[in-house]
Symmetry: C2
């Protein structure tokens, strides 16, 4: 099996948002995705779904960062040192972001979504409608994940 496969992509559109820095991680943030105009008709029918997956290119990640093998979640030393595939860190071999968002509006080549943790001008690679095969009723996450999540929720209250 050869690893010498060339995979080349071009963005289908770009993120437009006023949120900067950590603000993008707020699940209330509303962003637009502006698609390449020639792809407008490829959006037809998407308005019937309430949620989407957005796949985007983490274009701030350097080639050097793509070689990182292990991280502390959120860069916190009180968290275990874990393989990058066991986390959602942006420092990944192939830095593709994946976020479930709420679809708010579709107008021409622009869709408006809520909960996209991507910076302004981020290249979008693909979007997919969210369906019941994407959910999981009884899923398990590690202790460290639950701890981070609890802190996040407490901070908001």
């Amino acid at each position: 099996m050869s690893h010498e496969i060339k995979i080349c992509l071009e963005p289908v559109g770009f993120v437009k948002t006023d949120a900067v820095g950590h603000e993008v991680r707020d699940k209330k943030v509303i962003s637009e995705i502006v698609f390449r105009e020639e792809l407008t008709e490829a959006l037809e029918g998407i308005e019937e779904f309430s949620h989407l997956f957005i796949l985007f290119w983490l274009n701030k990640i350097s080639d050097q960062s793509r070689k990182i093998m292990k991280v502390h979640p959120r860069g916190r030393n009180d968290m275990p040192l874990l393989g990058i595939f066991a986390t959602r860190t942006p420092h990944r071999t192939n830095p593709i972001g994946l976020t479930r968002v709420k679809l708010l509006n579709v107008e021409g080549n622009v869709i408006t979504v809520q909960g996209l943790d991507a910076f302004d001008c981020t290249p979008v690679l693909d979007i997919k409608p969210f369906d019941s095969w994407d959910t999981a009723a009884d899923f398990k996450v590690p202790e460290w994940w639950l701890k981070l999540e609890k802190e996040r929720t407490n901070k908001k209250e």
Copy 2:
């Protein structure tokens, strides 16, 4: 905003499965993902999650198919003609597959998963742990999706 961004990826591993043709769509199918050996440590800690997302490259999709704008879901003429972004068709501008799977085992650079609808030798681009941000309690899908899903369930019974 320039669209002239070059995005280049290389596989992190490959799918290994005995399932062929339509068999891969059976959610009971068990596959392996064999990672590049140098990425073995990047898997550390993943065993604590029960479910993962697998992002893979749909390498059977031709350059011509990447220009398709609209499809009938499952190629069925009794289904509406929809923009590709409103479906999970493999005929996409950037043919990246996304499937939630159950993680069964981790051993060295090989993980065993259930429910991956990818053919043998499919290049894997990334894997991500599944967490509660990926779920959605009240999501809406179109009538055509419900109809297809009902047929699929009936067939199994």
